[in-house]
């Protein structure tokens, strides 16, 4: 119990920092300087994916590839793929991106998030050898162009989330990263750190709540 209280205190100490970090980006001046710059980047990825979908634009694809391919490959290596499998799998992911570009909805995910989901699914195909069941696609119909304001808001949120995760205390950030590399279940994380499972769960939950709060 002492142990978990101790950790709870550490977490409580860590909160204000990350909160401030989150709040800082929303101060009017900082917002113009930083958030807009990042959002422009997010918006550019959205534009490029749209160009791939609508015009089979190879130049746009090459730009997306240059930025994301090395990161996707790094993600796959961290997730347990060896160098050659990671390269192969990364190429599959980028090729899938091309073919599914018309299904990308910028009001529901940043391009990075969308690419993450493709990479995660392909990784499960290859490393765990089963086709992952995916939720039913929502059919918005042909007229339903996503609302521009929704797209901008979502892309801004994504930038802020990425900023906030960067500013987390190292321990918490690494916990999240390891969870998303997918090689650790919650119970395995507990087994490795020797911490009670409940503490780990609430740690993750707290980090997430904080990120959500930073975004609200």
């Amino acid at each position: 119990m002492l142990l978990s209280n101790d950790h709870a205190d550490q977490m409580a100490d860590a909160i204000p920092d990350a909160l401030r970090a989150g709040v800082d980006t929303r101060q009017p001046l900082t917002r113009v300087d930083t958030v807009t710059a990042v959002d422009k980047t997010e918006a550019q990825w959205v534009t490029r994916v749209r160009a791939i979908a609508e015009n089979q634009d190879q130049k746009a694809f090459a730009e997306v590839f240059r930025h994301f391919a090395p990161r996707v490959k790094a993600f796959l290596i961290k997730s347990g793929a060896d160098e050659s499998l990671a390269e192969e799998c990364m190429q599959d992911v980028m090729a899938t991106l091309w073919h599914k570009a018309h299904m990308y909805d910028p009001a529901r995910a940043s391009v990075a998030t969308w690419i993450f989901t493709i990479a995660r699914n392909r990784k499960i195909d290859l490393l765990r050898r089963y086709a992952r069941p995916e939720p039913e696609e929502l059919d918005w119909g042909p007229q339903a162009e996503p609302d521009q304001a929704d797209v901008i808001a979502l892309q801004e949120d994504s930038s802020r989330l990425a900023d906030a995760i960067k500013k987390l205390p190292e321990k918490q950030r690494s916990l999240i990263e390891r969870a998303y590399f997918g090689d650790l279940t919650h119970s395995e994380i507990a087994a490795e750190t020797g911490l009670p499972l409940g503490t780990i769960k609430s740690r993750i939950r707290l980090a997430l709540d904080r990120l959500r709060h930073a975004m609200s």
Binding site: R66, A109, T113, P133
Partner: protein
């Protein structure tokens, strides 16, 4: 879609987003998310975390001809098939697993009119469809691990509450529950367990709880 009262936990959603759940649970989460916009939005939130993780990755070195080879792959790939939404009671991920809707399930009787169909089983977890005739009790059981139940048709009550289509009940090893299907409509549930249920295994042990009802 809006009358779902029992929602899935954040743990399961994050595990699903991270790709860290056993396959059996993936199916239940994907099926529930198909029925619940609340769960879908929360899942998207957890996936954004994955997107942030990807954004912050240090760049790995890629092959020199990586882009060319990817373009070749693109040329050789068939276009992604348009996903078909479900028009039955099984949402798309479950329909794809079963190979059809309710009438395509290969049920096995477990006595008293109740039926089950194991859809997938591995060392980590198993997932099955359970059919309980209206007004009847499901087998009383306890579990060694976590059991997640998703209602697809009809409804049931247990010691805790009422569960209808789209509702999720998460039971841990402390819960010994006796769900009873509501009168008027047969109840079909999708059930994942991460350890063998105590009634699992030999047929008599499956049938036994029913016979005690």
């Amino acid at each position: 879609m809006n009358d779902i009262r029992h929602h899935i936990s954040d743990d399961l959603l994050m595990g699903y987003a991270a790709g860290a759940l056993p396959q059996a649970f993936d199916l239940v989460v994907a099926t529930h998310v198909s029925l619940s916009d609340d769960a879908r939005a929360r899942l998207a939130g957890f996936e954004s975390l994955g997107g942030a993780v990807i954004s912050h990755m240090d760049e790995a070195e890629i092959e020199e001809d990586s882009l060319e080879r990817t373009l070749e792959k693109i040329a050789g790939m068939a276009p992604a098939p348009k996903p078909q939404p479900s028009d039955g009671i099984f949402p798309a991920p479950l329909r794809d697993m079963v190979g059809g809707d309710e009438d395509a399930v290969r049920w096995r009787s477990v006595g008293m009119g109740a039926k089950q169909a194991v859809l997938h089983e591995d060392k980590d977890a198993s997932v099955r469809l359970l059919f309980i005739p209206a007004g009847q009790a499901m087998p009383t059981h306890s579990h060694r691990g976590t059991e997640v139940t998703l209602v697809l048709k009809g409804a049931y009550h247990d010691e805790e509450d009422r569960f209808g289509r789209g509702d999720i009940e998460i039971a841990d090893q402390d819960l010994h529950h006796t769900p009873v299907a509501e009168e008027g409509e047969d109840c079909i549930c999708l059930v994942a367990t991460d350890a063998r249920l105590r009634f699992d295994g030999l047929l008599p042990r499956i049938a036994q709880p029913f016979l005690r009802i």
